[in-house]
């Protein structure tokens, strides 16, 4: 029996930027002090992520960071998320979270939010049904942090 071993067809999922972010995340650290924090967990695989946010002037994000044990997709997603939420207020983060969920599920998003182009490399998960949650997990934790919850609910 011989099987092709080329992984070309997963390159839409594992784009270089994803692999790079997963290997060398820029925003993975235990940030102190912080204003909001929540953990998320994917019951299917046991992936865990904790997201922390510090606000500037109490309304917009000065810095976001995360700690995680997770797959490449969830790590890269968390890292990119920490990047794009900087300078946003809660409302803007919620709307971006919704846009990103759409992107992850459908591969495209109708949103005009410029941050979407930064998140675009994650659109490949839409072809991998059970991996969509990996990409959205950090965002669920972020929303939970904004809601003041300690744990994000996984559905």
């Amino acid at each position: 029996m011989s099987q092709s071993h080329s992984f070309d067809d997963v390159r839409d999922l594992y784009q270089n930027i994803i692999l790079d972010r997963a290997r060398n995340p820029r925003h993975m650290h235990r940030m102190e002090p912080f204003d909001a924090c929540a953990a998320g967990e994917n019951p299917l695989c046991g992936d865990q992520v904790e997201v922390r946010v510090r606000f500037a002037a109490g309304t917009t994000v000065a810095e976001a960071a995360f700690e995680a044990r997770g797959c490449a997709i969830s790590m890269a997603s968390a890292d990119l998320m920490a990047e794009v939420v900087r300078g946003r207020d809660a409302a803007a983060m919620r709307s971006l979270a919704a846009d990103f969920a759409e992107l992850a599920r459908n591969g495209v998003s109708g949103s005009a939010d410029p941050a979407i182009s930064t998140l675009q490399p994650l659109s490949g998960v839409s072809e991998y049904r059970s991996r969509v949650k990996c990409a959205t997990l950090p965002w669920s934790a972020l929303i939970a942090a904004l809601d003041g919850a300690k744990e994000s609910s996984h559905d």
């Binding site: 029996m1 011989s2 099987q3 695989c45 992936d47 797959c71 990996c134």
Partner: protein, 418 residues
């Protein structure tokens, strides 16, 4: 490390290609690649004999059982009840009257937790499980603990993934354990537990023993009497049978003493609003219309594996497992989780630098189906110090070539993520 070399040496004539031809799904392609199914421990594929038995029944001989005086009902009842004999023979039970059909292993354990747990165990007594149990053999006992004042004790396992018999014995010492519930074979580590010794320890301390045979019954001959078990459960869909049917075996005296779990038709002798009189025998636990077609399918599955023979199956799987252990150990960065001496064809592993999820996705794109995650065994994951693993598991249709494909692909997965 070669699992059970004695069996492997027997190597009876076992024509895996002929067996594969009995499983239509194996000729499917996945993502354009040959389908390499290494997830049998989650659920096995179905041979034509099972599919055909179910179709045949629905096409030619079907009616509700136990209730009709007419020909179709009588014949369907015969077919259904006949499988009770087959299961009794499969498990080497003393009597067909000890076989209860359930939906799956999970329901069988819940039945015991409800009926024996609430009906026979007394608050203050304890149930003893182990660190390597599947959620199906943890959560029902937690629910019993929380509703009925039963203590839940957990015996330890060793770093190599074997049951720590000293820990098990010490938790029995005060005589308060009424029931021990232990898996026959771990669905994560592949470990076979020494049930006969476990049973002797339990009985010496006055406890009954429930054995979760969900994985074990698929791979080796099971003799519940020789094992000394008091309850034994398994699930049809892992034994190449249909979904929707499982089995509880229990000693007749236990079944007789236990109150029913669910109420309804078929499980009663007579009903008045004041009082109902339970049926006797296993029927007491089979409320409502049973999974008739699925029980018939299970009968065909038992016929199928029995015709191959468990000696041949065990030998095939021991050889496969030995091959897999040596091929996988040679993959750079791969760590096998669970190193028990007596083990079956289930191998969990982690790959350095690649998360189990990512491993599974890359394998899948090459047509290779493995499971990745916590395998319904969260506490065991914590005990082994992993958040998740990938797991390859083998069936009667698994080939050495498929294991080679797995190992070769894993080497490339590793470099992909480096």
């Amino acid at each position: 490390m070669n699992a059970n070399p004695k069996l492997a040496d027997l190597a009876p004539a076992f024509d895996v290609e002929r067996i594969r031809a009995d499983f239509p799904i194996l000729s499917q392609r996945v993502h354009g690649k040959p389908f390499v199914f290494l997830d049998s421990a989650a659920s096995a594929q179905k041979p034509r004999a099972v599919i055909g038995a179910m179709s045949h029944a629905m096409e030619t001989q079907y009616a509700n059982v136990h209730r009709g005086l007419h020909w179709m009902s009588e014949r369907t009842s015969d077919a259904y009840e006949n499988v009770r004999d087959q299961v009794a023979a499969l498990l080497h039970a003393e009597s067909r009257e000890e076989i209860v059909f359930t939906r799956n292993s999970t329901e069988a354990i819940n039945l015991v937790a409800h009926s024996y747990g609430r009906g026979i165990l007394k608050p203050g007594q304890a149930v003893l499980i182990t660190e390597m149990e599947h959620h199906a053999n943890i959560v029902p006992w937690q629910m019993l603990r929380d509703s009925h004042g039963i203590e839940l004790r957990v015996a330890g396992i060793t770093d190599s993934g074997e049951l720590d018999l000293a820990s098990f014995a010490s938790l029995l010492e005060d005589g308060r354990v009424g029931l021990a519930a232990v898996t026959h074979m771990s669905n994560v580590l592949g470990t076979y537990n020494p049930i006969a010794r476990v049973a002797a320890l339990a009985h010496a301390a006055g406890a009954q023993l429930l054995v979760d045979g969900s994985q074990a019954v698929v791979h080796r001959t099971v003799d519940v009497q020789a094992l000394g078990a008091d309850f034994y459960v398994f699930t049809g869909h892992k034994l190449y049978g249909p979904t929707g049917v499982g089995v509880l075996w229990a000693r007749r005296a236990l079944l007789d003493a236990m109150p029913p779990f669910m109420g309804g038709g078929d499980m009663i002798a007579s009903v008045s609003f004041e009082r109902s009189i339970w049926a006797s025998g296993p029927t007491k636990f089979e409320a409502g219309t049973p999974a008739i077609i699925e029980v018939i399918g299970l009968g065909a599955a038992i016929d199928y594996v029995s015709a191959i023979g468990f000696d041949a199956i065990a030998a095939h799987e021991a050889a496969l497992t030995g091959h897999a252990l040596s091929r996988l150990s040679a993959v750079d960065g791969l760590r096998i989780v669970g190193q028990a001496k007596d083990r079956g064809g289930v191998i969990s592993f982690t790959l350095e630098g690649a998360h189990a999820h990512d491993v599974a996705t890359l394998l899948d794109r090459n047509g290779i189906a493995v499971r990745a995650g916590r395998h319904c065994a969260d506490p065991l994951m914590a005990r082994m110090g992993v958040t998740s693993t990938a797991r390859a598991s083998f069936g009667i249709y698994t080939t050495h070539a498929e294991i080679d494909v797995l190992a070769d692909t894993l080497v490339r997965v590793r470099s992909f993520f480096q």
